[in-house]
């Protein structure tokens, strides 16, 4: 009796593990976080159009994604198509794990380079080769309280740094200790990166071999950033100390907040109904006119090791169609990287998204080296040190450049041997 039961159990187990013999080629697709959850809803249409293909989606949490991808690379188990944060592209390009896509885009009837915002497209070009296709975009700009600005005597959001400073000063003064002009969490590097990218001077010199933080441009950005704390316009807080950004924004503890597209949905959901008319988004002000911001977001990449390269590319093309991107936007709130998608009523009519449309024409990519995230963490540490009065801008940026030069030592060694990273 027992052995037969065991046999049946074993048979059940084996048949459960074995792939279903459907006679279709399988495209393995890894997507992260919320995107991995909802992208499945877009796929039946793809499978209908390509009866010979089946897409297998694996959802990976963002917190574990980087490690999992590198482990999969080392173990040779990467999927065919993958969503990749565009700051990770240089790293996987250095690993030579990404299939170059220039020729495929040139031959594609769906993806046309001119339709994409140039700054975003540029983040996918590493060492002159296209390594990914932008899927959705992320940039940082101002979320602000219209009612507080109006009460301080300002009808429109700031377009330049001096205007912005005047508003911050007025709002903080009227707040009498109960209100700050702006919230800049000290552990978030994006606002400072955006301000630094506005300067136009490169943050790394000579194709990412040396630090460029002692430049007058970066120092100007850092001074502007730290002055917001010195003048009392921004509280010296790190993210973990802010219990709930949306509550605090709703209560009017601060009037400006620099954040990204996902917060449009969050603010709509989390702020009370009577506050919904009081908040708006605006492009990031620059030193003397509308300024640039960061070019973030996720791209779709095809790995070199892909077993189904042809089918993988077809999936990338499908997900890049403007209509599919609009459906994706409806599901996630993620903003599409193509201008043609933005012409659609569903996006053009959203007043909170309008500032992003404007900002996306002025986004600049960060330096494309695998070490960039580490350099950013050193940069933000310096900013925190200056804010807390441990060092000053001149000496601090010189010390930062020394650290960054040490981090980039291996790149210089590789370059000297003709193996650019």
């Amino acid at each position: 009796m027992m052995p037969r039961l065991l046999l049946i159990a074993a048979w059940l187990l084996v048949s459960a593990c074995a792939p279903q013999p459907s006679g279709r080629e399988v495209v393995r697709f890894w997507a992260m976080g919320r995107e991995g959850e909802v992208v499945r809803e877009l796929l039946p249409e793809f499978e209908r159009r390509h009866p010979g293909l089946r897409v297998e989606v694996q959802q990976i949490p963002w917190s574990a994604a980087h490690e999992k991808l590198l482990t999969a690379f080392a173990g040779g188990t990467l999927p065919d198509v993958c969503q990749l944060g565009n700051t990770w592209l240089p790293e996987f390009a250095a690993l030579d794990a990404l299939a170059p896509l220039d020729a495929r885009v040139a031959a594609s009837g769906v993806i046309s380079r001119e339709d994409y915002f140039p700054g975003i497209w540029n983040t996918n070009v590493v060492s002159g080769q296209l390594r990914g296709v932008p899927w959705y975009v992320d940039t940082r700009l101002l979320f602000y309280r219209r009612d507080i600005l109006r009460a301080a005597g300002f009808e429109t959001p700031p377009a330049t740094w001096p205007e912005w400073q005047a508003m911050l000063a007025a709002i903080t003064r009227q707040g009498q200790g109960e209100r700050y002009g702006i919230l800049l969490p000290l552990n978030e590097p994006e606002p400072l990166i955006a301000l630094a990218l506005q300067q136009g001077e490169p943050l790394l010199r000579e194709e990412g071999r040396w630090g460029g933080f002692s430049s007058e441009g970066f120092r100007r950005a850092l001074r502007f950033y730290t002055a917001m704390f010195e003048n009392g316009w921004a509280p010296r807080l790190a993210g973990a100390q802010i219990s709930n950004v949306w509550d605090e924004f709703g209560r009017g503890r601060f009037a400006f907040y620099i954040s990204g597209p996902w917060n449009i949905g969050e603010f709509k959901r989390r702020l009370p109904a009577e506050r919904q008319d009081d908040w708006m988004t605006a492009p990031l002000p620059g030193p003397d006119g509308p300024g640039a911001s960061t070019a973030g977001g996720s791209s779709l990449v095809v790995f070199r090791s892909a077993r189904q390269r042809e089918a993988a590319w077809r999936l990338v093309e499908y997900l890049s169609e403007p209509e599919v991107q609009l459906r994706f936007h409806a599901l996630t709130g993620n903003l599409p990287p193509r201008r043609s998608a933005w012409q659609d009523e569903r996006l053009a009519a959203d007043p909170h998204a309008r500032a992003f449309r404007d900002q996306l024409e002025r986004v600049r990519p960060a330096p494309k080296v695998p070490e960039w995230e580490r350099i950013v963490s050193e940069m933000q540490h310096l900013a925190e040190e200056v804010v807390r009065g441990r060092t000053d801008v001149e000496a601090g940026t010189r010390a930062l450049d020394r650290k960054v030069d040490a981090i980039l030592e291996k790149r210089r060694w590789l370059a000297a041997r003709g193996r650019a990273g």
């Binding site: 590198l70 250095a94 000290l186 010296r236 973990a240 925190e384 807390r388 441990r390 291996k410 590789l414």
Partner: protein
């Protein structure tokens, strides 16, 4: 040693130790002599043998010394506090006067089995500068608001409080078991001789707890040297890296920046440190016992 049969008997244990301990340590040491990083993962020709450079560079990194200082601060303040609290609560629970003993035993042990990630959410609220219960209580007795997690001076004490609260229950249970093993007759005799409560503690309880104290001391010290989860969930090493521990430093080098050569050097350094401290504690206790 001369019996071949003896080797056969210990072979399984030796095999397990070899595969799961000696081999990884040797591999870690070998790795620490290279600059294994993302470029080496791409192409093995990009791997450089760097000798002891990783160690030299580590000793030249101010953040390493800061991490070491933070860790020592945590160990030196946290271990006595933790053991003291465990012992005090164990004595209270062991006392004949204690009511609802099973209830308190369970309640005091509860923090040990909670998840640190869930606990951190609650603690971040408790220690919130503006809305936190702790600052409300302090305000009631006239002490101004303290920025517990945001002030570089206060962040480590807060982490110590969390770690002590989270861990004392474990040692408490060990002490409780040891206390129950002390023969009642010793106390009886002392009481007949007119010994006060304090003298009974000093001359009977503590000496009888000696071996347990040593074991608890060694386990707690080596455990506290490996501080990681508390700063990881509470402060991410901030503010101003005042809560970066050696292990946190290693985690960032290895798993965040993918510099496995440098991370292995830090790991071996920490291993050496914990080994040395444990050895010292053992020797010290042997001398005291002699």
């Amino acid at each position: 040693m001369s019996h071949p049969a003896a080797w056969v008997f210990i072979a399984p244990a030796l095999g397990v130790i070899g595969v799961f301990f000696l081999l990884p340590v040797a591999a870690g040491f070998a790795l620490s002599l290279t600059d294994f990083d993302i470029y080496a993962l791409a192409d093995f020709r990009n791997l450089r043998f760097v000798g002891l450079d990783n160690y030299v560079r580590m000793l030249e990194t101010p953040l390493f010394w800061q991490a070491l200082g933070n860790t020592l601060y945590f160990v030196i303040v946290g271990v006595p506090l933790s053991i003291g609290l465990s012992l005090a609560t164990a004595l209270l629970l062991h006392s004949r006067l204690a009511l609802f003993r099973p209830f308190f035993r369970t309640a005091l042990f509860a923090p040990v089995v909670t998840t640190i990630v869930a606990v951190a959410v609650i603690w971040r609220y408790l220690f919130h500068t503006r809305y936190g219960v702790v600052n409300h209580a302090l305000e009631a007795i006239g002490i101004g608001p303290i920025d517990w997690l945001g002030d570089p001076l206060w962040a480590m004490p807060t982490i110590i409080l969390l770690a002590v609260w989270k861990n004392f229950g474990y040692n408490m249970v060990i002490f409780l078991a040891a206390l129950q093993a002390i023969p009642e007759t010793l106390y009886e005799a002392a009481r007949i001789d007119g010994a006060s409560w304090w003298r009974q503690i000093v001359h009977i309880t503590l000496p009888m707890l000696g071996p347990t104290l040593l074991m608890v001391g060694i386990l707690t010290t080596s455990g506290y040297f490996q501080l990681f989860a508390e700063p990881y969930v509470m402060t991410q090493g901030g503010p101003l890296r005042s809560t970066v521990s050696v292990l946190y430093f290693m985690y960032e080098e290895g798993f965040k920046w993918w510099n496995f050569g440098a991370a292995s050097a830090v790991a071996l350094m920490l291993f050496g440190l914990v080994f040395a401290v444990t050895w010292l504690l053992m020797r010290l206790s042997r001398r005291v016992a002699a």
